[in-house]
Amino acid sequence: MEVKDKNEGLRTMIPACSIAEDSGLVTVKVEMPGVPKEALEIRIEGNELSVSGNRRLDAPRGRYILKERRAEAFKKVFTLDDTISREDVDAALADGILTLKLQIKEAAKPRRIEIA
């Protein structure tokens, strides 16, 4: 029988994120210090972009004098609207920050109409 962490599945934390748009490129940054690439799952299902994973604290055996960091599962779900291209999603993990780059579809970009 597999022994599971007592707290597993009990709590899911929501990581902090920031979303900004600059000339058709939407940048989503999600903070997840100490999470390796392998423990992370990013998926797009219909209108939902979800980022989920498990954070483990790889610490040797010992006595905690102070414990503020938590090892928990985390999940964040974003809703994508029709203007976001589902194909052009770029994800990079560096320094504990996941950066997702989403493109706004050409057809949905604002167009400037010249007056003849």
């Binding site: 709590r11 990581p15 902090a16 994120c17 920031s18 900004a20 748009e21 610490a59 006595r63 504990g96």
Partner: protein, 152 residues
């Protein structure tokens, strides 16, 4: 935001005020409502830190996502370990439209009082995946020693 019915508590009813406060705190601490590291009870100026004592050393681990090695300063004075730094982010420009901002940028500092038996000469610090790990060796005399009981 929820719409809350306004009711004025009876004058001098202190307990009523406490009840209201408790409800407000319960809502604020609800883990499903706010992100764990942003919002009302966040750690904007003090990153979360773990201090672990093992047989050989003390380990200090701090969550510092997005902090560059060059913007980080770790120092020891006596038994005080100080972690100072600056978290930089993208500059806001007029073209950039911000939809959500739960993360923070700016300077931070954290000072940890370690037990006296540390060896200030044997300290290593490593920054990986946004987690800073500082290892501080214990002084030889502070390490646990096994004493064999001699039998006559």
């Amino acid at each position: 935001m929820d719409l809350v019915k306004w009711d004025s508590p009876a004058p001098m009813d202190v307990w009523d005020a406490f009840d209201g406060l408790r409800g407000e705190l319960d809502r604020a601490l609800d883990p499903f409502r706010i992100p764990s590291v942003a919002g009302l009870l966040d750690r904007t100026t003090a990153p979360a830190v773990d201090v672990l004592e093992t047989e050989e050393e003390y380990l200090v681990m701090a969550d510092l996502p997005g902090v560059d090695k060059r913007d980080l300063e770790v120092s020891v004075t006596g038994s005080l370990l100080s972690i100072k730094g600056d978290k930089k982010g993208e500059r806001d420009s007029e073209k950039r439209k911000i939809f959500r901002k739960e993360t923070w940028i700016g300077s931070f500092s954290r000072t940890i009082d370690l037990p006296a038996q540390i060896d200030a000469g044997k300290i290593t610090a490593e920054l990986k995946d946004g987690v800073l790990t500082v290892r501080i060796a214990k002084r030889e005399e502070a390490k646990t020693k096994l004493i064999t009981v001699a039998t006559e």
